[in-house]
Every structure is written in structure tokens, then in C-alpha cells.
Amino acid sequence: MDSPQTMGMNRSGIDMSPQAARAMIDAVREFPPTSQGGTETLTSYRRTYVAQADPIETVPLPGTVKGAAKAGMQKLMGRHAEVLIDKLGGRLAFERTGTRLYDALIGKFGARTDEATVVPPDQLNQFRAEEASHIGLCWDALRRLGADPTCVTPNADTNAVASIGLMQIIADPRMTIAQSLHAIHIAELADNDGWVHLINLAKEMGQDEMVAQFRKALEEEDRHLASLRQWMEQISLSQAGVE
């Protein structure tokens, strides 16, 4: 298996032109900074913005009296229902993006055959289907609480921002299967912990039915993570020529 690390000439390091690096250091000595301080200066400068910042958005509460009267919501009376709604919205968004990440990865398999042999396509398709089924799970859970599952919660938004880099990797035609798997791996790590966190929260908030369904989802996520770890290790060892 070819290693992408051995092809072409990477010009980003200073060893490409040690003379230039020495000249740059000479310039640094001759032309010093025009302002004193350090990173703490930046932190202090940012502080007023942080102190005065508005929330990025708010959690949508059930919009109708009927919604608020649902059984699931009744169990949350006296507690902060919006926390659970926020996390459920976040999970829903992440599962949607996760499914699209798998779609993009699976789409590469037809064209890139280099590392594809290690990863069984059937298994990838299964993982993709499971991610997609988790979307419905979160959607239904939100509906049972009387919440609007189409609404973007703050947690959903932060997940979307965090996922931008992952999609940039997998969608880039130049990124290999191994490099794309790295992005999926980050997603699955966060996904896995996200489910653990959500299950604990739902349990503490008396959502037993939800907990039972979510545990099944977590089992599936555990399998995804285990397989990804195995594939990535196999590919690295193979590229390094030690297997």
C-alpha cells in the first residue's frame, strides 16, 4: 500500500531552506516587536467582548399547550426541560451530519482503491444505516416531549460548527480513505461520548423509555468505534510496511 507521506516534496518546513531560516532569525533580531506583552495581553483585550457577549441562541421550548401537556414533558416538570431538549437537538444534528459523513466516505470507495481493501464496504453501509436510524430515534424523542425537532438548538449549532472541518476532510477528493477515516474517527469518538452523556441525563430526568432505546444506539456506536480503530491501525501498519 502506498503511503501518502512518501510522495512529492513538502516545502513547509525550515529544513527546505536553512539559509532562509537563518536570515529570518537575523531579521527578528534587527526589527523587534512594536508592542510589549504576551498572550495574556490578547486574553485581556478579548475579555470585554466575552463579558458582554449575547448567547449564541436559545433553546426552543414546546410551542403549544398540547406539546407541553405531553407525558414526557410532565415528567420534567420542576426540572430544566430545555437542557434535555438542547442535548437531544444536538444529538439529532450530529447524527444527521454523521450520516452525511458516511455518505461522502462511501462515495469515495468506487474511485479510490488504495486503502479500500481494509474496510469492508458492507460494514460501512451498515454503520451509515445505523447512524441514519439514530436520527429518527432523536426526532421521536423530541416529539414525545412536545418539542420541535426541526428547530436548531444551541448544542445542535455547536455540533454543526465542530463538524465543518470533518466534512472538509472527507469531501476533499485529494484526501485518501485513511485520511477520511481519521475524520470519521473524530466524529465517532464525540458521538460515542455524546450518547453516554445523553443517556445519563435522560435517566436522571426520569425518561426510562428513552434510556432503553438510547442504550441500543450506544451499543451500535461502540461497534462503529471499535471497527474504526481496527481499520485505522491496520492501514497505518500496512502503509508503514510493518504488516
Binding site: M9, A20, M24, P33, S35, G37, T39
Partner: protein, 397 residues
């Protein structure tokens, strides 16, 4: 390769064809490509952007030119797309910004070194020291926000140190206006330099205005706001050195000739085979546009293009490191300020600019803050701190 601006026909405009697939070609590698290939791509995007901008302005003022301008502009817009889309997706907006400043430094320095008009050369050097400082400020941001060394983009060709501090670059608008060259006596090279630098700076301004709000960090947002404001000053400066009495058709011909000159300069120095082929193709396209503009000049304006254009191109723009030249300009001219179109010592700077600067910097200076105590170090500031830390631990032991 000898090019004749008055007789060469290039690719006929009707044969200049694109597809969507053609517009979106393989991007360059951020890490493997030579920095000057990136520099050329960024500049040529700016040159094409200016051609589209000029084409629209000209069309709004000249009914008779609208049809030929529309035909050329469609090609220019597609050329700009193809060129700009050569930048890769793993090159972040901040890394691309580092590339923009390397363009502003190395291209401006190359122009200034051979500019035949001493006053225009001085104008170029004045702007050079300001863009040189911007690279240092953005490099500090890249290091302190993301832990990335800007030299991974500039590849050792360009020093990363303060220039004329950006905090001192803010001026009254009157002090951004310069004297213009005389269209009748200016050398062709002076005109091409002016059109090139104006295009590059305008695109740089637009890029910072576009990407400033993309950042979540309030200091980064302020930094882009502050430097974009200077780029607006630079556009004001550089457009003012062009003779405003040039007619619309004269300006159109000069725009087309400048595009020919720039693609030619890229072509003769490009080593990346795929990108070189694009420069060659677009050089021929621009000769086709110039041919059309010449025809319009003769048929509609009843003027001879030879009144406005030289026959031969000057020596190409030199794409190379100008390290020693820039340092010397920095030593000699960092203290210069502007008093209207004149350059004066900082002790003689007009009160109007001092007052404006005090006002804008009243709540603090983003460019001073982002680089507080920051010095370029191979691998970034954290590596310099590591050395200090290890030294301290040894002493303690």
C-alpha cells in the same frame, strides 16, 4: 516569446470556451507547491477581479461599449473563477491571508525596484512597508490562534517582522491621495505597475472584508477590520497615481494590456506544469480580448490603439524574494508619513491624520495587541517558550 500588443490576435473570443468541469480544476497543494505559484494565483485572481470591476464601471458610463464589454467580461469572470479555484480547501482563510500579504510584499517590492518614475517608486515603497507589517500581524494571529507557523506558507522567502506599524498607518483620506503619472509622458512600465498594484490591493481589501466576519475570535475580527481599512487606503493611494484624464477606451486597452503583461510574467516563471498551462492558455485569451478592444478603439472611438499602447511588453514582473531590498527600505523609510501627496518625516505629519489616528485607536489597537511581544520563531511561539521552560527547569535542578 515576443509579444506584440498592437498586432497579436491570440485566441478569438468566440473560441474561448469553458465548462463547469473546466472551471473547477485540480487545486494546488498547499504544502508541496512553491510559494510563488500561490503568489501568482492570488495576484492573477486580483487582476481578473479588477478587469470585471472595470468592465462594469465602463459599461455603466458608455452605452456604445456595453456589448463588447459584456462579451469580454464573461470570459474574464470565468478566468477569474478558474484561477481562484486553484486554491485548495485545506488552506484556511487565515493561511490564504498570509499568502495575500506575501503577494503584497514581494510583488510591490519587485515593481518598486524597477519602476522608472522616482515618485511612483516612492509611492510603491511607502505601501510596501505597510503591507510588510500586515504579514507580521497576521502571522502573530495565525500562531496565537491556531498554533500554526506562517512560514509554512511563505517558505522562507519573506521576513516576518514589523514594518511601518499598522497602528501608525491610519491617515486622513486627504493624505492617501497621491499625484498621478502623466499619460502622455509616463513610460508603459509605470502604467502597467499602477494597474497591477491597484488590482492586487483592491482584491486584498475585498478578501479581508469577506473573511473578517468568518472569524469567531473578536480580536481576529478587529484585526481584519483594521487591516481592511488600510487596504482601502491603499486602493485610494494606488488608483490616484493613474492619470484620471485617460479616456474610457484608453483605460480599457491598458487593462487588457496589463492582463497580457501579467499572464506573460507568470508564464515565463512558472514551474508547476498544470498551472503553467493555464497561464499560457489565458495569455492567449487576453491577447484575444486586447484584439477586440483594439478593434473597438478603431471602429467606435476612431482612434489608433498605438496612441495608447506600446508595441512590446517590458521585462516581466520578477517573482523572487526581495529580502535585502525590503530590509533596506525598512531601515531608510519606516519613519516616512504622508502630507497630501508628499512624503515627509513623521515629525511633520499633518494634524488631520494624527487626530484621525487618535480617534480610531482610542479603544485600543488590534494590530498592536495581537503581536504584543511576538517574534517569529521556527515552529511558532510555543517552541520558543519551550526552550525557555527547559532552560528554567535545568537551572532549578
Amino acid at each position: 516569446m515576443a509579444i506584440n500588443l498592437l498586432t497579436d490576435s491570440g485566441t478569438p473570443i468566440d473560441q474561448q470556451r469553458f465548462t463547469w468541469r473546466d472551471l473547477v480544476q485540480k487545486p494546488i497543494s498547499k504544502l508541496n507547491v512553491d510559494a510563488f505559484t500561490r503568489v501568482r494565483i492570488i495576484l492573477m485572481n486580483g487582476i481578473e477581479s479588477e478587469s470585471v470591476r472595470f468592465g462594469h464601471s465602463c459599461a455603466r458610463m458608455n452605452r456604445a461599449l456595453q456589448e463588447p464589454l459584456a462579451r469580454v467580461r464573461r470570459k474574464e469572470q470565468h478566468q477569474q473563477t478558474l484561477v481562484n479555484w486553484l486554491l485548495p480547501a485545506d488552506q484556511s482563510p487565515l493561511e490564504t491571508t498570509i499568502g495575500y500579504e506575501q503577494v503584497a510584499i514581494e510583488v510591490t517590492a519587485s515593481l518598486a525596484r524597477v519602476e522608472p518614475d522616482p515618485y511612483i517608486a516612492q509611492v510603491l515603497r511607502f505601501g510596501l512597508l505597510e503591507d510588510f507589517d500586515h504579514l507580521y500581524r497576521y502571522a502573530a494571529l495565525l500562531d496565537r490562534l491556531q498554533g500554526i507557523d506562517a512560514n509554512t506558507i511563505t517558505q522562507g522567502y519573506t521576513d516576518i517582522v514589523p514594518g511601518r506599524a499598522t497602528v501608525d498607518e491610519h491617515r486622513d483620506p486627504i493624505d492617501d491621495l497621491r499625484d498621478h503619472y502623466d499619460k502622455k509622458t509616463a513610460r508603459p512600465l509605470t502604467k502597467l505597475h499602477a494597474y497591477t498594484i491597484m488590482a492586487g490591493e483592491h482584491q486584498t481589501h475585498d478578501y479581508y472584508m469577506h473573511y473578517g466576519p468568518w472569524f469567531s475570535d473578536p480580536l481576529a475580527r478587529q484585526l481584519y477590520a483594521e487591516i481592511a481599512s488600510i487596504e482601502e487606503q491603499h486602493v485610494t493611494q494606488y488608483e490616484s497615481i493613474i492619470d484620471p484624464t485617460e479616456s474610457w477606451i484608453e483605460k480599457w486597452l491598458l487593462h487588457e494590456a496589463n492582463e497580457v503583461y501579467n499572464y506573460y510574467s507568470c508564464l515565463v516563471q512558472e514551474e508547476h506544469p498544470h498551472v503553467k498551462a493555464i497561464w499560457e492558455r489565458f495569455l492567449d485569451y487576453e491577447l484575444g480580448h486586447l484584439r477586440l478592444a483594439r478593434d473597438v478603439c478603431k471602429d467606435i472611438e476612431r482612434r489608433d490603439p498605438a496612441e495608447f499602447l506600446p508595441e512590446q511588453l517590458p521585462e516581466p514582473i520578477a517573482y523572487r524574494s526581495n529580502r535585502e531590498y525590503v530590509r533596506q527600505v525598512l531601515r531608510d523609510e519606516v519613519q516616512l508619513r504622508a502630507d497630501g501627496p508628499r512624503f515627509v518625516d513623521r515629525s511633520q505629519e499633518p494634524e488631520r491624520s494624527l487626530a484621525y489616528r487618535r480617534q480610531m485607536n482610542e479603544d485600543g489597537s488590534p494590530t498592536q495587541t495581537v503581536a504584543a511581544g511576538w517574534q517569529w520563531t521556527p515552529g511558532g511561539e510555543l517552541l520558543a517558550q519551550r526552550s525557555l521552560l527547559e532552560e528554567g527547569m535545568k537551572k532549578a535542578a
